[in-house]
Every structure is written in structure tokens, then in C-alpha cells.
């Protein structure tokens, strides 16, 4: 199994170079929201281990919101971020990136603080690397190559079925399955279809993953005496904060929202980038960290493939602290429009949403951390939209395919490779076609 990983290069922009950077980013698109996958600066399509990537300026309009807590926002630098989700490890990908797109990367990063023509590109990028506190991968092990091979399998079956429909329609499930398995085998033998075998799981990754799987519960057990002592005080404080922390969910500026919308709904999948400040105080900070470590652990070791709670439309997602632990950003890749994304979250995973976002300044009032909050739908949607960042460039390696499409194609392939299937399993497999 080839595990997925994520990378993010985060660097402060030289103020005088912001306009140039924006121009460079715009030039990577054919139109707003429509990337040119072969653009001169970063030809995404050349990297066959890259699932999704985005470049954006973290221009958070809400950093002054902290004033509702009686604090003044520090003068934050304006950051530029390049992030993506890949097959294999980060180092190999960054190496490949530098090998194939050094000039483009230099053009982009020349707008950032501390980058000069003499800078060692790879070393600088590694230095600016910012890791996520929580990461979600829809289906660990499914590589870009696999996605494409399975999509080709789906298309080949579709054409074959269209051409031979009358003959195939009358077949009993098992006969149909056998016939199609034979067809696919012939196509593979003829070199028309390729279904690569799974690579071996890297030993280093396996060790690290196992340590993470076991280490977190061990740490939790070791810390439990302390946690039990602290718990009542923590809860009392949290309840007090929940009842008194001010909300700030004004209607988002129409022009701002419209500008966001121009970049949305060009593909069946959309990008989502949001940013905000944490509420002041240690309790909120620790709650955020605790919740996100839990999310990360669950996403890594517990959730079923293809699902984040009940949500089945997210390809990749991550939570990242931006410059210290004062501000946080969330990035995701989801299927459908932003309205259905928000509804899905409220109705299916409202508790998770509340736990992870309610420590942000202005979030609609929660109850016991997981209740209410986003169920105040209008407020929540305005809050989220106001915290959404325009994403200047967004790339996805397989336009037109949703997470459900990927799951279907994988199920079709598994069914073909399965040696023995029950009658019911064969019928379910037929229904996928």
C-alpha cells in the first residue's frame, strides 16, 4: 500500500511583491477557478503522484475580530501557501517538484520574504514546510495511478456493455460477472487496460503508523490521572466560556461572497479554504489541540475508507496552525456545491464541526462543545462564508470524478479480482455497473 501524505509550503509575502504574485497566480489559470494543468509555472499534470494542489494568499479578512474579546490583533504578515496531497512521502515529492518546476517555483517564491535568486530552493521549501495538526484522506492507499486505471476500467466496461447490451442483458449475475471478468482479462493481456498491483507498504511508514496507533492511547492512559483531576475545572471553565463568549456572524459582504463564487463549481469537486483566529486563553487553545489530535487519530486509524463520520464527499482535508497557535486554517476538497457541503456538515457531522471550529472567534454559541453551534444554520453559514478565503489556483488530478465515483470504480475492480463471491455480492457488484 502506498500511503498518502500532504505538504504545505508557507511563507510571508514581501508586501511590495504581492501584486506580482497575484499576477503570476492568475496566469496559471485559463479562467478564474479553471486551472491550466500544464501551465508554465507549475505544470501539475506532470506529477502523477499529485492528487490535489492549491496556491493561495492567506488574506484573512477576519483577523481583527479578536477585538470582541477586548484584544487587538497583532500585525500578521500576509502568507502565501502552496499545498497538496500526494502519494508517497513529502521529501520525494518536493524533490520531484524542484526537478521539474524549479524556475516556476523560483518565480513564485521570489515574492516571499527570505528568498533570493541564490537561495537553495529545496532546502528553503523544506524550511518553510508547515505540517497539519489533523489530516484526512478519503481512502488511504488509493494512488492517482490507481484512480486513473480504475476510471479507465470503468469506461472500458461501459463501452463494452453498450456494444453488447442485448446479449448481456439476459445473463444471470454470475454469468455476467464471469463474462466481464474474461473481457477485462483479455483487455489487460492485450495491453488495453492496466491495473497495477499494490506496492509494498514502506516499512518506515508502517513503523511510524503503528507507533502512532499505540502511542496515543498509551499517552492518554499515562496522562489520565492528571486529566481526571483537571477535568472538573476544565469543564467548568469551558461551560462558562460557552455561555459568555460573544458571537460574530454578520452577513458576509455580497461582493466578497460573489468573488468566492466565481471560482466555485467548475468541476464536480470544489476546493474550500478557510481561516480564523482562536478565542483567547489556554482552555480554548488546549481544546482545539485536543480535538484536532483526536480527529487526526480517528481519521488515521478508525474511520472507514471513504467516510469522515457520515460524510462521503471529502477527498482530502486538513487543519493547520498558521504562524504560532493563534490562527488556524482549514483546507478541504469536497464534491458538490458549497451550500450542500455546509448542509451535509450541519446535518450529518454537526458535532465534529462544533468541536473543531467552535474555538474560533465569533462561532455561533455551542452547548457542551458539540451541541447547537452550527445548527444555527443562517449564522453558521454567514460565519463560514466570511472566513472562507479565495483560492487563487486549485488543481485536481481527476476532474469529473467524485469521491463516490472513485469508490464505485474501486468496488468494480475488487469485484473483478475477487476469486469467490456470494450470490448477493455478485448482485451488488452488477448493480455498480
Amino acid at each position: 500500500m502506498t500511503p498518502q501524505s500532504s505538504f504545505m509550503i508557507l511563507a510571508a509575502i514581501v508586501p511590495a511583491r504581492e501584486a506580482v504574485l497575484r499576477q503570476s497566480l492568475a496566469a496559471m489559470n485559463d479562467a478564474p477557478g479553471r486551472v491550466n494543468p500544464n501551465n508554465a509555472l507549475l505544470p501539475f499534470a506532470q506529477f502523477n503522484t499529485l492528487h490535489v494542489a492549491r496556491l493561495l494568499i492567506l488574506d484573512d479578512q477576519t483577523s481583527a475580530d479578536i477585538r470582541i474579546h477586548g484584544e487587538t490583533a497583532p500585525a500578521y504578515p500576509l502568507y502565501f501557501a502552496l499545498l497538496g496531497d500526494i502519494d508517497g512521502d513529502e521529501d520525494s515529492f518536493l524533490n520531484a517538484l524542484v526537478r521539474h518546476a524549479a524556475n516556476g517555483l523560483r518565480t513564485l517564491f521570489s515574492c516571499c520574504e527570505g528568498f533570493t535568486p541564490a537561495t537553495d530552493l529545496l532546502a528553503w521549501m523544506k524550511q518553510q514546510s508547515s505540517s497539519a495538526i489533523a489530516n484526512y484522506v478519503n481512502c488511504r492507499g488509493r494512488t492517482v495511478v490507481q484512480v486513473r486505471e480504475e476510471a479507465a476500467l470503468h469506461d472500458a466496461l461501459e463501452s463494452h456493455l453498450a456494444a453488447h447490451a442485448p446479449a448481456l442483458q439476459g445473463l444471470a449475475p454470475r454469468a455476467l460477472h464471469a463474462q466481464l471478468a474474461q473481457f477485462v482479462q483479455a483487455e489487460r493481456a492485450a495491453g488495453q487496460l492496466k491495473l497495477s498491483e499494490e506496492s509494498a507498504t514502506p516499512f518506515k511508514w508502517w513503523i511510524a503508523n503503528t507507533l502512532h496507533l499505540l502511542g496515543m492511547p498509551v499517552l492518554l492512559v499515562l496522562a489520565s490521572p492528571l486529566l481526571i483531576v483537571i477535568a472538573p475545572f476544565y469543564l467548568a471553565r469551558l461551560r462558562y466560556l460557552e455561555k459568555t463568549d460573544p458571537e460574530l456572524c454578520p452577513s458576509v459582504d455580497q461582493a466578497y461572497s460573489d468573488a468566492l463564487a466565481l471560482g466555485e463549481d467548475h468541476d464536480v469537486t470544489n476546493q474550500f479554504s478557510a481561516m480564523g483566529s482562536l478565542k483567547p486563553g489556554l482552555v480554548r487553545r488546549l481544546t482545539t489541540i485536543g480535538v484536532l489530535l483526536t480527529v487526526n487519530y480517528a481519521a488515521r486509524h478508525l474511520v472507514r475508507p471513504g467516510r469522515l463520520g457520515r460524510i462521503r464527499s471529502i477527498h482530502f482535508a486538513r487543519w493547520v496552525f498558521i504562524g504560532g497557535t493563534q490562527r488556524m486554517a482549514f483546507f478541504s476538497n469536497y464534491d458538490g456545491s458549497v451550500e450542500s457541503y455546509m448542509d451535509d456538515f450541519i446535518n450529518k457531522t454537526g458535532f465534529g464541526l462544533n468541536a473543531s471550529f467552535s474555538n474560533g472567534v465569533g462561532y455561533p454559541r455551542t452547548n457542551w462543545l458539540v451541541l447547537d453551534g452550527c445548527a444555527d444554520e443562517c449564522k453558521y453559514k454567514e460565519f463560514l462564508r466570511r472566513h472562507t478565503l479565495p483560492t487563487q489556483v486549485w488543481y485536481k488530478a481527476y476532474p469529473g470524478l467524485t469521491a463516490i465515483d472513485l469508490e464505485r470504480n474501486t468496488r468494480i475492480r475488487r469485484g473483478l479480482e475477487s476469486a469467490s463471491m456470494s450470490e448477493e455480492a455478485v448482485r451488488e457488484w452488477i448493480a455498480l455497473l
Binding site: R34, L161, A162, A165, L168, Q169, G170, L171, A172, P173, L176, S251, V252, Q254, S257, D258, A261, L262, E264, D265, D267, V268, V303, R304, R307, L308, G309, R310, I311, R312, D335, G336, S337, E339, S340, D343, D344, N347, K348, T349, A375, D376, E377, C378, E382, Y398, P399, G400, L401, I404, D405, E407, R408, R411, R427, E428, I430, A431, L432, L433
Partner: protein, 502 residues
């Protein structure tokens, strides 16, 4: 169960369309107008006999309804900060580029081709005239006298045709409508079974919606202009401009009846019975409105006790998990998947938790759809163009073949979550319910999207056998116009026309 009605609805303040379809008034025309002279327009509106939602005996023979676009409110002098209180969708309008993309209004559906409501022919108001046939002409004539002519430039008169509850393709229409909880008996709750009873706030602004919250709408500071408005339930010191009003969506959907039937017959080699079956599969009901799935024994809240209602609406798709009876992509299954908050009723709190955490049913199609109670609309459309029976539709069109279709009208309190969601995520989506490469068999625009060159299929699943894929569906329905309107309460209407030019 019986709770006291906390906020009884003042029916005299609500425009009648929310409560009635005015079916007995078989004649209707919608005037789409622009404000020419704001003062005259206010004069006309002030004296217009706008119908309310009170029950009357005997029933009235005429009815008048008025609704405004955002530019219309502006033209009448409503202040910008007041307009800013309306929803983003209403203010931005149906023709915004991103919205058009979401709604499937691209290609020949694009707003730049529209006959009304497009960038070149924006409208300000829709004024809807309903009447019994013998009263109609006089009613319109009296209403559109000298003041009318001075007030409005007429953009378009949309005539309608009474097809006796049958839409132009020949299918019974308007069978399934949500039942409004006018008495507000139902508290906010989790729904484990499909219900047809919808919170009042889903359709009427100013009341609690399915979330138990009050949807955003303009609330004003008290003052002379707003003195008559009702207080906001969630902010009693404020005046609620939205209360007892709602949003009205209007779209002119031209239907190519000949193309539809000719395609269906050609697909089935001219066999009438099979052609009718395919057409029924595409719609999700037979032409008479009969179900393709069996009715259930257990009553569905809000379906009522009328035997005809029960026979046509007491069903869900729970017992058709493979789509073998009613295809997943059938129009009625897309428009109303009839599901609840959970994929299946959790037997215990533990089961519920297991589902919530994503460890529930793991089948390919399990839990794909959003809960339908947040996505309902109240339909009030009427047909236009003369009737063309399916049998006659097989003949080639004569040179003067009239155009036919539906003046689609629906009411909802939250345009983005209700109308737009249904149209985008369910009707126009090429990825609905695990499908791929097909959108609504009736309404789809068949346009390629990045990575999906083909969106013109329709899948008829079979139990235990290969599905049948119908391919190459042409575009049967073309959008010819459309706009979002605010259908104000009578008090809000009074506020709007009371606005001064200054």
C-alpha cells in the same frame, strides 16, 4: 402533542398563494413589468386588491398577487440597508454567473438567451392575475387602467393554459406538495421517518424552520415607516419586514413535447406500451400519477387521510433500494428522495452513535443523500401553450406549432437551501445518488462538464441483471426566463409602497 399556538398566523397578512393554488380560478396571467414611474407604481400598488390567505365563503372569483425582484425594490425606493437584509441569492439574482452554472442555466439555457429576466431584460415585479373564466377579462382590464400604464412598462405578459392538472408532457402534475405546519404544533426534532409535514418557517419568513431557527430576513428598527410591521419573533424590539412573506422563484420552462415522445417511442421501437413504461420510469410515476413503488401501510405525517392522497403519496423509496421499481434518476426521486435524517431508523442510542461516527451501513449507495426535510419547495406553477396529446406528438410539428411549457413557480423561505439546492444537487447534478453521466431525464441540459463529456444517459436498474442504459437523451426542456422575487406580506407591501423617493 398539543402545544398552544405561540404565534398564530394572521392569514389576512399573508398573500393567498402560500395557502391556495387558486385552482378553481382556471385563468391566470403573470405580468412581468418594470417600474416606469415609481410614484405611480406605488399608487397602483397601494390600491391594488392583493388577495390574502383568509378562507372565504363563497370563494372569490378573482385573485391578485404581487412580488418584487431586488432591482424592483430598489426602483420603488426601498433603502439599500433594508435590501441588504434579504438573502444573498435574492440580492444577487438568478442570473449571476456562478448561480447560472449551479442551476444548469448554461448553453441554450443561459440567461443571455432569456426572453425575460436575463441581463438584457431584467424585470422588477411580477403581478399575478387569477380569475374564473367569466371574470378574467374585466378583472385585468379594471386593474390595468391609467395608473398602471403610467406606473409600469410592460416587459411581458405570460399567459397560462388550464390543462386540468396535467403538465405538457402529459403527466399528472402537482400531486405531491409539502403540508405546512400552520399551527406550529411540531417542535424542532430529529426525524427518523420521512414526513411530509414541514415547519412553517420553511415557507413563511419570520417563523421557526426545520432547524428550529428563524431564517435571516430584513428586520428593521422601529420607526414611522415600519410602524405597522409585526415584531420579529427572535428580536421583539425589531420590526420584521419578512414575516408572513416568502421568496418566489419563477422560471419559464419550455417543453419540447414532440421531441420527448418521439425520443421515447423511437427508443422502444415504436411499441406504445413499452414507450409509456420508459416515459413513466423517467418521470417516476405513470401518466395518471400512479406510483411505481407500493404504498406503505404506515401513515406519513402530513399526507392526510384523503384516499387519493394516500394512494399517490403514502410511500418512500425505502423498499426500492436497488431502484428496480423506480429508477434512482427518475424525476420524482431526484426532486424528493423521501428520506429522513438517518439512512435507516437507529434501533438504539448506541446504533445512532455508530451511524453518526460513520460505522453504520457501508453499502455503495447508503447515506448518500441529504435529509429531504431541509430541501422542500411549495410548487405553484401553471402550464402554457395548447395541449398536445402524446399520440399526436409523434407527428411532425406543423409550421405554426405553438410553444408549450411550464411557468414554474415555487415558494420557499431559503432560496439557497431549498430551491437552489434541489435544482443543483439533485435535479441538475450528474452525480446524484451514485449515478454518473446523467442528470434529470426531463430537465437536464445534457451539457458536458469537465471530465464528463457525456451527461445524457438515463439508467433503468434491474434486480439481478444488467441495468439498461438509455443514451443520447436530447434536451427536452429549455429555460426561457426566470427571476427570484420577494412575495411580501400585506403589511410589508404597505411598507414598500409607503417608501418615499428621498
Amino acid at each position: 402533542m398539543d402545544r398552544p399556538v405561540m404565534n398564530p398566523v394572521d392569514y389576512a397578512d399573508v398573500q393567498g398563494l402560500l395557502r391556495f393554488g387558486y385552482k378553481h380560478m382556471t385563468q391566470a396571467t403573470y405580468a412581468l413589468v418594470r417600474v416606469k414611474n415609481p410614484a405611480a407604481a406605488r399608487d397602483w400598488l397601494r390600491t391594488a386588491p392583493v388577495s390574502n390567505a383568509m378562507l372565504m365563503t363563497p370563494p372569490p372569483t378573482t385573485a391578485l398577487q404581487v412580488a418584487f425582484t431586488a432591482p424592483g425594490l430598489r426602483a420603488l425606493g426601498v433603502a439599500e440597508p433594508v435590501i441588504a437584509g434579504f438573502s444573498h441569492a435574492f440580492r444577487g439574482g438568478m442570473t449571476q454567473e456562478n448561480r447560472a452554472r449551479e442551476l444548469g442555466d448554461v448553453g441554450i439555457n443561459a440567461p443571455e438567451h432569456w426572453e425575460w429576466g436575463g441581463p438584457a431584460n431584467e424585470v422588477h415585479l411580477v403581478i399575478m392575475f387569477f380569475a374564473q373564466p367569466d371574470a378574467f377579462d374585466a378583472f385585468v382590464q379594471v386593474s390595468t387602467g391609467a395608473v398602471w400604464k403610467e406606473a409600469f412598462s410592460e416587459a411581458r405578459w405570460l399567459k397560462t393554459e388550464n390543462l386540468d392538472g396535467v403538465e405538457p408532457f402529459g403527466f399528472a402534475d402537482g400531486i405531491s406538495q409539502p403540508q405546512l405546519d400552520w399551527e406550529q404544533q411540531q417542535a424542532a426534532h430529529v426525524e427518523y421517518d420521512y414526513s411530509n409535514l414541514a415547519a412553517l418557517g420553511e415557507f413563511l419568513l419570520g417563523y421557526r424552520n426545520e432547524y428550529g431557527k428563524i431564517t435571516d430576513r430584513p428586520v428593521l428598527d422601529p420607526g414611522t415607516a415600519s410602524a405597522d410591521l409585526l415584531p420579529a419573533l427572535d428580536a421583539p424590539e425589531k420590526k420584521d419586514l419578512g414575516r408572513n412573506g416568502t421568496y418566489l422563484v419563477m422560471r419559464q420552462l419550455e417543453q419540447d413535447v414532440r421531441l420527448f415522445w418521439q425520443f421515447v417511442y423511437q427508443q422502444r421501437g415504436g411499441n406504445a406500451t413499452e414507450a409509456q413504461q420508459l416515459a413513466a420510469a423517467m418521470v417516476g410515476r405513470t401518466r395518471a400519477g400512479d406510483l411505481l413503488v407500493p404504498i406503505q401501510q404506515q401513515p406519513i405525517p402530513g399526507t392526510g387521510t384523503d384516499p387519493e392522497q394516500i394512494s399517490q403519496n403514502q410511500f418512500t423509496f425505502d423498499h426500492d433500494p436497488t431502484g428496480a421499481r423506480c429508477p434512482f434518476g427518475a424525476h420524482v426521486r431526484r426532486a424528493n428522495p423521501r428520506n429522513a435524517d438517518f439512512p435507516e431508523r437507529p434501533a438504539s442510542l448506541l446504533k445512532k452513535l455508530i451511524t453518526l461516527l460513520g460505522f453504520g451501513p457501508q453499502g455503495f449507495r447508503d447515506d448518500l443523500m441529504s435529509s429531504v426535510r431541509f430541501h422542500r419547495i411549495l410548487r405553484r406553477g401553471r402550464e402554457y401553450g395548447s395541449e398536445l396529446k402524446p399520440e399526436d406528438a409523434l407527428a411532425p410539428a406543423p409550421p405554426d406549432d405553438p410553444r408549450r411549457g411550464l411557468h414554474f413557480i415555487c415558494l420557499n423561505a431559503n432560496l439557497a437551501r431549498q430551491f437552489e439546492f434541489i435544482q443543483n444537487a439533485w435535479i441538475a447534478s450528474t452525480k446524484f445518488s451514485g449515478l454518473s453521466g446523467e442528470s434529470d431525464p426531463l430537465l437536464g441540459n445534457r451539457q458536458a462538464i469537465p471530465g464528463c463529456p457525456v451527461t445524457s444517459a438515463f439508467t433503468v436498474p434491474h434486480d439481478g441483471a444488467l441495468r439498461q442504459r438509455v443514451t443520447g437523451l436530447p434536451q427536452f426542456v429549455t429555460v426561457r426566463g426566470g427571476a427570484y422575487f420577494f412575495l411580501p406580506s400585506l403589511r410589508a407591501l404597505h411598507y414598500i409602497v409607503g417608501t418615499d423617493d428621498a
